[in-house]
């Protein structure tokens, strides 16, 4: 007993961290486990193990159409937000200019505004202009809320660069464009990739803003929310779990890649 208390007090923080991670992962595990449930329409109670949901992920009506829309919206929004946000990040991270603090404020405000206000205000504007909610308004909305997150992520990467590397390139007679292309951009690239991944996951998982601006267009989160009232099909768990594993693989692959690059340098 004494040994146990001594071990506990020494490792308290580790035990605590373990409990914290357990708390984080219980719902993920639950979602994954219930993707194997042989439950029929309502996936509330465990009825028995089956692989049929994984063999036929599109088995529930409309689910794959909703998934397709989410992927489309996520991909287009990510590309646009990453371009716009990266340009701003370079301006903020590399230049002194008048209007800097106003720019910082304009980037910070969308992050400090609750999603419901962002969604409601865009919908109000679209209705005022006579634009029907749908796919394009949804993409417009997603690009808007992703830009700030891209700026913050890429800016942090630019700020952590060693200015001497660029100086060295310039000393070796590279002009500004060559320095940017051959030195700065490759060094900032991991930050841009992280920002794109973040944008995609924010867009793919967004419900509140999407619900305001998508009209009749269904997305995966909208599908889940509507289905929740009458019981979610296990296929939704299959898709949720797959996204989890795909994202994990992408992140780990990126980590290995960057470790290899570091080893080369």
């Amino acid at each position: 007993m004494k040994k146990l208390t001594r071990w506990l007090s020494k490792n308290l923080i580790r035990v605590y961290a373990f409990l914290g991670f357990t708390y984080l992962f219980i719902p993920v595990f639950y979602t994954f486990a219930f993707s194997f449930n042989d439950a029929g329409r309502s996936n509330l109670v465990w009825k028995g193990f089956t692989l049929k949901n994984w063999k036929n992920p599109c088995g529930a009506p409309d689910i794959c159409m909703a998934l397709g829309n989410s992927l489309k919206i996520g991909l287009i929004s990510t590309i646009l937000a990453t371009i716009l946000g990266t340009l701003i990040a370079f301006a903020l991270g590399r230049y002194k200019f008048a209007g800097r603090s106003t720019t910082n404020l304009l980037i910070f405000l969308p992050m400090a505004t609750p999603e419901i206000v962002l969604g409601a205000s865009l919908l109000t504007m679209f209705l005022n202009l006579g634009i029907t909610p749908g796919l394009v308004p949804t993409i417009i909305a997603h690009v808007m809320f992703c830009i700030s997150f891209v700026v913050v992520t890429v800016k942090a990467r630019i700020a952590s660069l060693d200015p001497r590397l660029e100086q060295a390139a310039m000393d070796l007679y590279a002009n500004e464009w060559q320095t940017f292309r051959r030195v700065t951009l490759p060094l900032v690239a991991p930050g841009i990739a992280a920002a794109a991944l973040l944008s995609f996951s924010l867009s793919f998982d967004d419900f509140i803003i999407t619900n305001f601006n998508s009209g009749t267009v269904n997305t995966f989160p909208k599908f889940v929310y509507t289905a929740a009232a009458r019981g979610i099909p296990a296929q939704a768990n299959v898709i949720g779990s797959s996204m989890f594993f795909i994202a994990l693989i992408v992140v780990i692959a990126g980590q290995i890649l960057s470790n290899k690059r570091k080893a080369k340098i």
Partner: protein, 295 residues
């Protein structure tokens, strides 16, 4: 001349550029935010003082600022509930996330990157699915309630779902990574030698934490609490899935006003009030905590 400009690399690495280049870089993104963030907020403001023109969904501008008073009086209960729930959830998230971030920053060794990925990983399973999973875990058929009832910790009549407890834990759970990452970022920057120095000066573990670690991690605490509090105060998903009608938050009212009752001016007035309240709180909080550089 182009190769080595004295000004090109200063201590900050910022270039003193008189050319139009920074503005060209900024223009597309900032114009986008002006059109699709600022202008919609203005539209929302205009909508909030309109009145119905008779037909459903048609409104005329009559600068009726009493809309705000009406809207607030009708939903002051949900309004205060939003802020109370968000505050408790933020404190809860801070209590869970701080030791977690501390362990990753100081005790994880070569597992650091793996653990960081694990903090973000639950994000990739749709947050709606995870919230619904919570409902099942805490629900009547779930394991938690069976254990608690079996051990006679709660009476057989007590439920865990459809309570404010469920909504607050749901909020704390959903925004936990937003709390953990900024905390980790600020803890990781602390030089371990400052902690050793404190120990050398006869501070015990608790004093070192209170006088050295905590003050140095304040930027992370501020950023984390804001990133948790703001979305939690505006959230309505947790209340909708995990709560009962008596746990409704302001977000639920705005949502219903928009989609069920089709009363845009009231919804707009409520949204505007929510945004203003949050901005005022955030400004006061940042002033008090004394950190300006957030972005």
């Amino acid at each position: 001349m182009a190769s080595i400009r004295g000004v090109s690399v200063k201590s900050l690495g910022l270039k003193d550029n008189k050319s139009a280049l920074p503005y060209l870089l900024l223009a597309p993104g900032l114009v986008y935010l002006a059109v699709f963030f600022i202008y919609p907020i203005v539209s929302l403001g205009q909508m909030s003082t309109k009145t119905s023109s008779g037909e459903i969904g048609q409104y005329k501008q009559s600068f009726r600022f009493a809309n705000y008073v009406d809207a607030f009086l009708e939903s002051k209960e949900q309004f205060s509930r939003s802020f109370i729930y968000a505050t408790i959830a933020t404190i809860l998230a801070l209590a869970i996330a701080y030791p977690l971030a501390y362990a990753i920053a100081f005790k994880s060794g070569r597992w650091k990157n793996v653990l960081l990925v694990l903090i973000v990983a639950p994000f990739f399973t749709s947050f709606l699915l995870r919230t619904i999973a919570w409902k099942q875990i805490l629900g009547e058929e779930g394991p938690v309630i069976k254990v608690l009832r079996g051990l006679h910790i709660i009476s057989p009549q007590t439920s865990l779902t459809a309570t404010s407890f469920a909504v607050v834990t749901g909020l704390a759970y959903n925004f936990l990574p937003f709390m953990t990452l900024p905390l980790y970022a600020s803890l990781e920057r602390i030089d371990p030698r400052t902690l050793e120095a404190s120990g050398d000066l006869y501070a015990n573990g608790f004093t070192t934490f209170r006088k050295v670690t905590l003050p140095l991690s304040m930027p992370g605490v501020v950023a984390g609490t804001l990133l948790t509090f703001i979305p939690a105060a505006g959230d309505y998903i947790n209340a909708a899935i995990l709560g009962s009608p008596s746990n409704k938050m302001l977000g639920n009212v705005i949502d219903a006003r928009f989609f069920k009752i089709v009363d845009y001016p009231t919804a707009a007035a409520l949204s505007f009030t929510l945004m203003a309240a949050i901005l005022i709180l955030v400004t006061v909080y940042i002033r008090k905590a004394g950190t300006e550089e957030l972005v």
